[in-house]
């Protein structure tokens, strides 16, 4: 909302520079976002919070300035107070008019003031300048006066050309199906039963509280007008505006709330200005409804103020602050104040609202600082700390963390095999690219890879830990943490010896390495998980038989979808929630052997289709308890080996916790291994 320094002076003597005024109002909660000099005046731009509709007027801002700087409000004499509205004059000839309120909860108050003999024309210069300074376009003197009073008092007014209204009646009613109206912005609008309209005998002539109709607006040849000042239900105005997709200064104020006193005062103020500027004769005023309820009274405990703020204000000080803001305050009993809320402060509903008023005007800056005495509490399991620990392991493995959007498009997920029904979709997506909640992270990571490749950033080793979302049949969809990893391009370095180039292109075994390190840190032992190679592109991972995810090599189609050319991408996605369930909590020290052990290598040739795991299993099963460790240390396939075969070297380390082993003992164990391999794997020895 914009307001000007000079205009504000009409209502209160401001003894501050524009800059001081801006700072003072900002620190009272009426945030001045900026200001500019305009023709010797200063125009401020303020951000008014939705709880203070009274600040959407100069009068409201003036009240605030008056309260802060201890000054009185100035009120021009010709306004009338609005407190004693003129009774409807049945005797007046022009008041053949009647008002019909279909539902008083839609429109608690409607006043129609008829003014005859108006000369419509351009506004006087001062009036036009004031409006234009705050960005309001000048139309003609009558319309400008309604706007002028809107900015002064916050009550939206509307003037109809009386001659265009049919049937001497104003009906405030819901629109009927099929009705339309051309609003003054020139748009033809389709109305419906949830939209409130002002109608004459035949048709809607305004969308109530939002905008007037084109063919009843006040124009040059208008002589008699009907000036509307009313109250409309904020919710009805809001819904209607949203339905019609409109914005207006009037709707903005009605949605936040206007009070009856202000409406009546505005009507009088506008009538007086029209008489003076446009020469009309206010002929009669018709009032329907009765909006003014009993003023709200709130009981305020002095202790409650001090308990909330941590200060020690006296009842007298609190009273002074509230009175300056327009509240009426009486002392009920010692330490309890009876506070009556003025009609323009509908936001003040309870004690806490008054405490805020006291704090605001007393000044937040004057409230001292302290630290609460925190009682120690059990933190329990800190899931964030666990996740942080996992992230630390991944970072130490050389992976950079990425954060990608949780929302994704359907097409990408369809390519990953997700059916439309399995997805959680937004009702109001911004666009198709962010239409559903992702069940998996992998597509987002591949996009990150593609982006970095386009930017020639290479090699890429990234991970993300974020929620995956899925429908489970429960009333609320499930969300649980997942881990995704993507690798593209190998590290390259010069080995120190001979400075030969080492190229380390990622593959399944790199992904396996990440899993091994992570699982070891999570306390998931090697014996508890298993990899199952399904084909060239996928390897499943289970922990104690439960599937937890997969290692992937992206196929051609996925790479092409992401426009990745001549590159391999390896990726991994795991359900972190499953892993955290499977992790073992404790560690226990295992004594280790201090006696020297004996290392024996065995080199064997087996058929290509025998997996290495089968060989290691045979070694472990046949060696007996002395075998400490068996590992593949060499592998060969090529000349010197029969076609369809491969050559492994398995290194076996024998050791005992109790004694130094003899060559003979180890020889026996190793002989069993050799025999078993020959028998069970049809292995040839080399």
């Amino acid at each position: 909302m914009k307001f000007s320094y000079q205009w504000l002076q009409d209502f209160v003597d401001v003894r501050m520079t524009p800059r001081e005024l801006a700072d003072t109002l900002t620190m009272a909660g009426l945030e001045v976002k900026g200001w500019e000099e305009k023709q010797g005046d200063t125009v401020f731009e303020a951000e008014i919070t939705s709880n203070r509709p009274d600040w959407l007027s100069l009068m409201g801002i003036a009240r605030e300035v008056a309260a802060i700087s201890d000054r009185a409000i100035k009120q021009p004499k010709d306004w009338g107070t609005g407190k004693k509205p003129a009774p409807s004059c049945r005797s007046s000839a022009a008041a053949q008019f009647s008002i019909d309120l279909e539902d008083q909860s839609d429109c608690p108050l409607y006043t129609a003031r008829i003014i005859t003999g108006v000369r419509v024309g351009p506004s006087p210069e001062w009036l036009r300048q004031r409006l234009e300074a705050i960005g309001c376009r000048s139309v003609n003197n009558v319309v400008d006066i309604t706007n002028y009073v809107l900015y002064e008092l916050g009550e939206p007014l509307h003037a109809f050309d009386l001659a265009t209204l049919g049937g001497n009646i104003i009906r405030v009613r819901r629109a009927r199906a099929g009705e339309t109206i051309a609003t003054i912005d020139g748009v033809q609008r389709q109305l419906s039963g949830d939209i409130l309209v002002i109608a004459d005998e035949n048709r809607p002539v305004a969308v109530a509280g939002i905008m007037g109709g084109k063919d009843t607006e006040v124009i040059e040849r208008t002589t008699d007008i009907l000036l509307e000042a009313a109250l409309f239900n904020p919710v009805v105005v809001r819904r209607g505006r949203q339905k019609l997709g409109m914005q207006s200064e009037a709707a903005y104020r009605f949605e936040r709330g206007v009070d009856a006193d202000t409406a009546l005062a505005a009507s009088q103020r506008a009538a007086a200005m029209i008489r003076e500027i446009c020469g009309g004769t206010p002929a009669s005023v018709k009032i329907a409804g009765h909006a003014r309820g009993k003023p709200r009274s709130i009981s305020l405990q002095v202790n409650a103020v001090n308990r909330m703020l941590g200060i020690g204000l006296s009842a007298a000080k609190i009273k002074t602050i509230l009175v300056a803001l327009g509240f009426t305050v009486k002392t009920k009993t010692a330490g309890v104040l009876a506070v009556t809320v003025p009609p323009f402060r509908q936001d003040a509903q309870g004690e806490i609202d008054l405490i805020e008023e006291v704090a605001r005007i007393y000044g937040y800056a004057r409230i001292p600082t302290s630290l609460p005495k925190v009682t120690l509490q059990s933190a329990g399991v800190d899931p964030a700390a666990r996740i942080a620990g996992i992230k630390q392991v991944l970072v130490s493995l050389g992976l950079d963390e990425v954060i990608t959007y949780s929302l994704i498009d359907r097409r990408t997920l369809a390519a990953e095999g997700f059916s439309d029904e399995s997805l959680i979709a937004l009702q109001n997506p911004l666009n198709q690219e962010q239409e559903v909640l992702r069940p998996i992270l992998l597509p987002s990571l591949v996009r990150c890879v593609a982006h970095n490749l386009r930017q020639q950033q290479f090699p890429i080793a990234i991970f993300e830990i974020a929620k995956g979302f899925s429908l489970t049949g429960a009333s609320v969809p499930a969300e649980s943490y997942r881990l995704g990893v993507a690798l593209c391009g190998g590290r390259q370095w010069l080995a120190e010896k001979e400075y030969s180039c080492v190229q380390d292109d990622p593959g399944f075994l790199h992904l396996k390495g990440i899993v091994e390190v992570l699982f070891e840190r999570l306390g998931i032992a090697a014996a508890e998980y298993a990899f199952t190679q399904q084909d060239d592109y996928r390897c499943a991972l289970t922990v104690r038989g439960e599937p937890v995810g997969a290692l992937r090599r992206l196929d051609k189609a996925s790479l092409e979808r992401n426009d990745i050319k001549n590159r391999e991408v390896f990726a991994l996605e795991l359900s972190l929630a499953s892993l955290l369930r499977q992790r073992s909590s404790g560690k226990a020290f295992k004594p280790f052997a201090r006696f020297p052990g004996i290392l024996r290598d065995i080199s064997l040739v087996v058929k290509n289709d025998i997996p290495v795991q089968a060989i290691l299993d045979v070694v472990r099963d046949s060696a007996g308890s002395l075998l400490q460790k068996a590992a593949v240390v060499d592998f060969y396939r090529g000349p010197h080996i029969p076609p369809g075969h491969k050559n492994f070297t398995v290194s076996c380390f024998y050791c005992s916790p109790e004694r130094t082993l003899s060559e003979e003992e180890v020889g026996q164990a190793h002989a069993r291994v050799t025999a078993a391999l020959q028998q069970q794997c049809a292995a040839g020895l080399r």
Binding site: G29, R239, G310, Y364, V374, A379, A388, V402, L437
Partner: protein
Amino acid sequence: MDIQSIKKSLEADIAGAQSAPELDAVRVKYLGRKGLLAQLTATIPSLAVEERAAFGKQANELKAHIVALLDEKQRSLGDRAAGPSRSGVDIGMPAIHQDVGRLHVLTQIIQEISEIFKNMGFIIVEGPEIETEFNNFTGLNIPLEHPSREAFDTFYLRQPAQATERLLLRSQTSPVQIRAMKTMKPPLAVVAPGRVYRPDAVDASHSFMFHQIEGFVVDRGITFSDLKGVLEYFARAVFGQDIKMRFRPHFFPFTEPSAEVDISCIICKQKGCSVCGRKGWLEILGSGMIHPNVFKHVGYDPAVYTGFAFGMGVERIAMLKYGINDIRLFYENDLRFLKQF
């Protein structure tokens, strides 16, 4: 040789020395036990008594001059790339190291801030990103048909058939307050970081997904002055001890009195810059005393308990702290961005 000729020959010798051993030879020639300087001082006893002091002083100055020139040359020889050693070790070759990755800058900020509050005795909790309308709005004293909802434009979910409540993507981390207060009893000091969503078209300063950190304290006797104390401690820990702070009245439906917290502009030090809009202040978080209606929704008695709550945007803090000028950078994940933090 006299002092002048020693100086002259020294300059020539030093210029000629091209390696450490050569320079060592020069050092011996001038400063050695039988070097030129020693020869010079050996003549002192032969001088007249009144000349000795002055000559001694000149000799000392010469010595300092020689040492300075030698040292300087030594440094310049050292600066030059060292040649390979005899066995071929060349330290100029590329280093070999295990790569270590980096946490995303937002994770770093969340961890830093969480740590500050943990040290004050707060616990960290998390809440779901799919929320009910009650937890995101109603429980937080944001009525359905109220203009205050406009500040919280929200993504709604297409209702799954089984849903009993209207579901949405949380537009703020504040619903964690409702969840935590419903499951725990005061005293409570809680911090909850996480992702939030609002249907804002993406540009340099808007994102439909971003991160917030929510925090709140509930106990008997918690005051607005505690709110100020805790947030001041926090802001100084993150932005430095020398910042200025101000608490500005504001409106949030779930707190009252409410305050926005500004710090003095860390970029221009209140001289005026584009980041603070020449105002000298940067808004860093919203806060306030928890509204009695929120307590009523979770079954706490507002006559017994008081509390404060606060919330901040993680991206905003990161942008201010590191001078990042485009929010999209956080989600683009360009390695040249990620590797700077």
